[in-house]
């Protein structure tokens, strides 16, 4: 009940931000070069057809009427019709969303598996050689563009060694896991490079915290100190960091989908841009914004469920 109230409050707070998000998208699309009517009807359309389409889209109305139209349509779930796909934008989005969601969650899982233990080892060996090696490797990783990581993995692990497929999404859960391993690993390498440094200092901070000193003074076994006192607190920082990095992560997903030909939202976005499919660009941009806000909200909820001080009462 309290949680529900909190979510509602958070959603209410998001309204002004989303109004602005809509304004930004609206302005972007209005400045898109070319005539949308022409793009929809095709080159051979008659002037009368074009005029009819303009009228239907409200392109002859003043800007604020168009914005109001855009806003009310969007709220009702009408994002227009994709020129490229010839179907409802919302349908296209929902069709591609599971792939991107799967890839993103997969990548988050792998980044935790990579960055978590590495940050722990580095923090526990602060200033000694394992720390130096880990930090150096991840610093180099931070300087690698995600498309390059993807391409290198694709070349060696998929094309040369044939351990993984070179692209596609596959059928069924296990096949998804197999097909998306390299894309997810690519995004995960990139994401762990971003979060490792912060995670390492967060863990060091916990290791030096007074309550960990007190736990040592109590004579607890190391296993209990690390597992119960350090890990739990470090988990909160991990979740927060991942939540804050979701924009970066999705940027990485977009590029990776292109490199590995994964049929997700990111690849669709690029196709839409090259086809100047403006309803689709508009719908996808909005979808990405919604996804990021959703993750911010989930992060908050997860944090408050882990941290009793933030527990909603």
């Amino acid at each position: 009940m309290a949680t529900l109230q909190y979510i509602l409050k958070r959603l209410t707070l998001m309204i002004p931000t989303f109004l602005l998000v809509m304004v930004i998208i609206f302005l972007l699309v209005r400045f898109l070069p070319g005539d949308p009517a022409l793009a929809i009807a095709g080159d051979r359309a008659s002037d009368a057809d074009l005029a009819a389409i303009r009228d239907r889209l409200g392109l002859n109305e003043p800007a604020w009427v168009q914005f109001w139209l855009f806003l009310t349509n969007t709220v009702q779930g009408d994002l227009g019709t994709s020129i490229l796909m010839r179907t409802e934008v919302l349908d296209v989005v929902f069709q591609r969303l599971p792939t991107t969601a799967f890839l993103t969650v997969y990548a988050v899982g792998l980044s935790v598996l990579i960055a978590g233990p590495m940050a722990f080892v580095a923090a526990l060996n602060r200033g000694r050689w394992p720390d130096t090696v880990i930090r150096t490797v991840f610093q180099v990783g931070l300087s690698m563009p995600v498309f390059y990581i993807g391409l290198v993995l694709l070349t060696f692990l998929a094309a040369q060694l044939r351990w993984f497929p070179v692209g596609g999404y596959g059928e069924g859960f296990v096949s998804h896991l197999y097909h998306l391993f390299l894309p997810a690993f690519t995004v995960a390498l990139y994401t762990s490079a971003i979060i490792l440094r912060n995670l390492r200092s967060a863990i060091i901070e916990v290791l030096d915290a007074e309550y960990v000193q007190f736990a040592r003074a109590k004579g607890l076994p190391n296993r209990v100190i690390l597992g119960r006192h350090v890990l739990r607190n470090a988990l909160i920082s991990t979740v927060t960091l991942l939540g804050l990095s979701i924009g970066n992560l999705m940027s990485g997903t977009l590029v990776t989908e292109t490199v590995f030909a994964v049929p997700g939202l990111g690849r669709l976005m690029l196709e839409a841009i090259f086809a100047r499919d403006y309803p689709l660009i508009q719908g996808l941009t909005l979808t990405f914004a919604v996804l990021v806000s959703l993750v911010f909200l989930l992060t908050d909820l997860f944090q408050s469920s882990l941290d009793p001080r933030m527990r909603l009462s």
Binding site: F214, G219, N233, L306
Partner: protein, 329 residues
């Protein structure tokens, strides 16, 4: 109190930092604590009081190098591995920290934090651990103890949190309690209650206490003996009554004058001139000499050693005050 001490610290040195920059936080610290005895460790912040406690318990060595000797009932602790220290920490020697806000894990209930100490040091059953936890909370004066086991630290006030920390520290009935400024972070009214609690438990459980504080008032109220620390060394040591009535070291005198007691209103309060030296740049002689009115050439050039000046008093000073028997080197 003539008996063999339970804790004997000799020549304890702690240096923070490795490699490039090092900081000598403790230099040649020696003292003893007898069974059921309350020793006060007093000095300004940065004088090494807390570091002493942390070095005794082996908590300081993660951050630097600790040498010298710490003997607990005859066993040497300095050379013991972390694993071998574990049964001593918490069960024989317990410690409470200054800041009750940050010393309890915010993500665990106080019950969990109490029980885990018992789990590490006793064979009690789950039910017995719970009973003992309630008993401990009750003992330190937390009302409705049974219902508060599932509460988190942030649901307690500062004073109550300090009581919780004491309950956790004493759960396994230690023989020595290291109390690191246990009342500094608390309101004045709460301070006295916490001190009373520690004293009462100490005499009930025949438990020795090392009470670290910068407050001579606390020392006068609670301690049997006192050691005054300055810049990582003990400069004067002896029974509380003797030291406070008849301080020998100029620094002890200064500390006592800084306590506003029986001073007429609107007179200027006394403070020791100058500031404590940086540990990174300690002078070759007596560290207090630059601030000392009685210092001489000798004080600046050579460091006075801590020497026995009477049956149970020790002093590190070339020009002691109020002293009949000289101790100059």
């Amino acid at each position: 109190m003539e008996q063999t001490p339970i804790l004997e610290v000799e020549g304890l040195c702690t240096t923070f930092g490795r490699g490039g920059q090092t900081l000598p936080a403790l230099r040649d610290v020696s003292f003893t604590v007898g069974e059921g005895e309350v020793l006060g460790l007093v000095g300004e912040s940065g004088s090494g009081k807390s570091v002493t406690l942390r070095s005794v318990l082996g908590l300081a060595r993660r951050y630097g190098e600790v040498t010298g000797s710490v003997r607990w009932q005859g066993q040497e602790l300095i050379t013991k591995s972390e694993r071998d220290l574990r049964p001593i920490r918490g069960r024989d020697i317990a410690m409470i920290f200054q800041e009750p806000m940050t010393s309890l894990n915010p993500l665990l209930t106080v019950g969990q934090q109490l029980v885990e100490t018992l789990q590490a040091h006793t064979d009690l059953s789950r039910k017995a651990r719970r009973d003992r936890a309630i008993e401990m909370l009750d003992l330190v004066g937390i009302p409705a103890a049974a219902s508060r086991l599932t509460d988190y630290p942030h649901q307690f006030s500062g004073g109550m949190r300090q009581r919780v920390m004491i309950a956790i520290a004493l759960a396994a009935s230690p023989k020595l309690l290291l109390a690191d400024e246990p009342t500094t972070a608390l309101d004045v009214t709460i301070q006295a209650q916490i001190l009373d609690l520690i004293l009462r438990l100490s005499s009930d459980m025949k438990m020795g206490v090392i009470m670290v504080t910068h407050d001579l008032g606390v020392v006068a109220q609670t301690c049997d003996r006192v050691a005054v620390m300055y810049a990582g060394r003990i400069v004067e040591q002896g029974p509380v009554r003797q030291v406070l009535r008849d301080p020998h070291h100029a620094y002890t005198v200064g500390l006592m004058q800084s306590v506003p007691e029986g001073v007429a209103p609107r007179t200027q309060l006394y403070s020791i001139p100058g500031t404590p030296p940086s540990l990174a740049h300690l002078p070759p002689g007596c560290a207090f000499a630059p601030r000392c009115a009685a210092s001489t050439e000798a004080c600046l050039a050579t460091r006075p050693a801590l020497l026995r000046v009477s049956e149970d008093r020790q002093l590190a000073c070339f020009n002691p005050k109020n002293q009949t028997k000289g101790c100059a080197a």
